[in-house]
């Protein structure tokens, strides 16, 4: 029985363990067709191994950038390629003030706030009884396992970015971080203005945003 191309390629590429490799070599002994096919995979690999890597004039600038970062402290302890929603949001608005404190919705807002936080999936919004327009941006867990939700809340024309967390399933969500935003009016905020948020997320060991499935599971138990 003839040995298939994929197996021959794996042999040529050293991807078989010693026993498998011996078995295939035995199987193709005297099989000139299979040996020719094996040879094609070996020779294509050899041809490619000699390919020079392209260099570029821009490399010097990149090397300088890399050297400059050596010895610098890591900006964030956690991997996070998905912090873009925050950055995009903050980039379009001027940060007016950074106030850490409890956000107390007006009469009638508090219960619907808790309901909205425990039910609304990320990317969706809800209107609270006091008229506050709430959008959930993302959910994540801290190093300690606390569930946190990043929200944007607009009330009377003022927009607030908050991180609301609950330490246990039964506990209410509490505001742990807040930042007030107003639409930019001919003024671009400095790039460092979300540093406070980044620092806060780093301090609590914020993980990557939860997937929709993980978020649904976290909200239901």
């Amino acid at each position: 029985m003839s040995v298939d191309d994929i197996t021959l390629m794996a042999l040529a590429d050293g991807e078989l363990d010693a026993d498998e490799a011996r078995a295939v070599e035995r199987a193709i002994e005297g099989d000139l067709d299979a040996q020719a096919r094996l040879d094609r995979f070996r020779r294509t690999r050899d041809a490619l191994r000699m390919m020079p890597a392209p260099t570029h004039d821009g490399d010097q600038a990149l090397i300088a950038q890399i050297r400059a970062a050596e010895g610098a402290p890591a900006p964030r302890p956690t991997a996070n390629f998905n912090r873009a929603p925050w950055a995009a949001l903050a980039a379009g608005a001027a940060v007016l003030a950074i106030g850490l404190g409890w956000w107390l919705p007006r009469q009638g807002g508090a219960d619907t706030l808790q309901a909205a936080l425990s039910q609304t999936p990320s990317g969706q919004g809800a209107v609270l009884d006091d008229g506050t327009d709430l959008t959930v941006l993302a959910s994540f867990r801290t190093e300690a396992g606390t569930l946190c939700r990043e929200i944007e809340a607009t009330q009377d024309g003022a927009t607030r970015l908050s991180v609301m967390c609950r330490d246990t399933f039964d506990a209410p969500f509490e505001e742990r971080f807040a930042m007030e935003l107003a639409p930019a009016q001919g003024y671009q905020p400095a790039s460092g203005e979300i540093e406070a948020l980044e620092a806060f997320l780093a301090r609590i060991g914020a993980g990557n945003p939860l997937t929709p499935e993980d978020e649904a599971a976290a909200l239901s138990r």
Binding site: M9, A47, M50, P52, L62, A74
Partner: protein, 163 residues
């Protein structure tokens, strides 16, 4: 970020560019991808699992950057034959005219492959990643990597007259 990481990143710049070229097929886009890869690598150096080899980690960043870019621009970009842009081909260490011609023929043959075949070929045969590492970079089952790679190798053998 420590010096060893910086050294490794500098050493791998040409490899990152080659992979970026196999993705974008446009030298200027490839350069942007390498730039983004370096920035993200520096930013996330501390979060890398030191048990994992650096190459697959970096290639994955490059690939994600490419996906971000194509999503943003919604453009495929014109495919170009990189042999028509000799400035992106290094001549280092290639003395004999014969091997130079072979390299050019190989470059041209890779450029004619479908992008997904060129990509696995680059990662496995040029960059030396294992099938498992390649599957991880591409977010594909290992079996898919192997079937794409085998098709790419046979097409390359035909193009180069390797019988």
């Amino acid at each position: 970020m420590d010096k060893a990481f910086g050294d490794a990143l500098v050493r791998l710049l040409p490899n990152l560019r080659r992979y970026a070229l196999s993705l974008s097929r446009q030298p200027d886009v490839a350069q942007d991808l390498v730039q983004v890869t370096v920035e993200r690598a520096i930013r996330n150096a501390a979060s890398r699992d030191p048990a994992q080899r650096l190459e697959p980690w970096l290639f994955r960043i490059t690939r994600n950057a490419f996906i971000d870019m194509t999503r943003r621009h919604r453009t495929e970009g014109a495919r170009i034959d990189i042999t028509e842009n000799p400035d992106i081909l290094s001549t280092d260490g290639v003395a004999a005219i014969e091997s130079r011609l072979m390299l050019q023929a190989t470059e041209a043959a890779i450029a004619r492959l479908p992008r997904e075949q060129a990509e696995v070929l680059t990662l496995v045969c040029i960059e030396g990643l294992s099938y498992a590492e390649t599957a991880e970079v591409l977010d594909l089952p290992k079996g898919t990597v192997m079937s794409r790679l085998s098709r790419a190798r046979l097409a390359l053998a035909d193009a180069l007259g390797i019988n």
